[in-house]
Symmetry: C2
DNA sequence: CCCACAAATGTTACGTTATAACATGCCAAA
DNA sequence: TTTGGCATGTTATAACGTAACATTTGTGGG
């Protein structure tokens, strides 16, 4: 199925942003295009998330455009820079294996997983070091 | 430092619960003991979390009593049963090893991490199978 | 004992995030 | 053209979280 106009606009807004946006931030940016209520944003985000085009970052209550979905199999993870907001989405193949071991020992049938790493990206770490005394 | 009365009551409430509780759920249960406003709960939760006695589950906006802190070193993870709410806290010994490829290619100085797995616990999986047609 | 100070607690108000419920408009099949 | 679906719009409210300031409590020095 094609994306609706609203979904396209929400997706474009996320695409253009260098950092995750909360639903209300997206709303602000789309007020000028006629959006008025959070429902409209949440509805679009819901559909986009179902299709894997955006992800919700639980630890930020915010949303990001999916990085070009790789063909790799594994668990999705996000590395989030707390300084600049940059998010790096990647797949952890072997974590799957490790968690697999844990799940066998503990009988747990896995649905979805949330893996969000907070820290500093390379750029921000460098800035820190150069501004050190 | 000793826990204050409020902290003890919040901790006890979490301890007695078989599933994670939101701050407002805790408040409800403690209304009878004189608690009136969310601030009181959040303050207690803040202190308890600093000491590692409770954890916040980002994907649920809820809090759990820390499982007896093991001596193991590593990153904390949670397996959450979406049916019964049971939470199993465990340690991923060396996350770095599993993030291997990504870590090598990406400089990222890790601060805190959120790992929350959703699915079904052993008990609930069994129930499913016995109630199958 | 009494004051001064700090820490904990109480109270009110507000900000942010998310959903429920119902109304309206749009398009395509019968 | 009617009708049924689904996307959209609109209003209201629920759920989660914090800021700011008042009050109490407990402790050590005078
Ligand atoms: Zn993705
Ligand atoms: Zn950065
Ligand atoms: Zn713990
Ligand atoms: Zn269960």
């Amino acid at each position: 199925m094609q994306l609706t106009t609203n979904q396209q606009r929400v997706l474009a807004t996320l695409q253009q942003s260098s950092r995750p946006l909360s639903a209300y931030k997206i709303l602000e940016r789309l007020k000028s295009e006629g959006f008025k209520a959070p429902t409209q944003i949440y509805r679009a985000l819901g559909c986009l998330a179902e299709r894997g085009l955006v992800h919700r970052l639980e630890s930020l209550n915010a949303y990001v455009r999916c990085a070009p979905p790789s063909t790799e199999q594994g668990v999705r993870a996000f590395a989030i820079c707390d300084s600049c907001g940059h998010v790096d989405e990647f797949i952890v193949p072997s974590l799957n294996r490790y968690l697999g071991t844990w799940m066998k020992q503990n009988v747990f049938s896995l649905g979805s997983s949330t893996i969000e790493l907070h820290g500093k990206c390379a750029t921000c770490s460098k800035l820190d070091r150069t501004s050190d005394s």
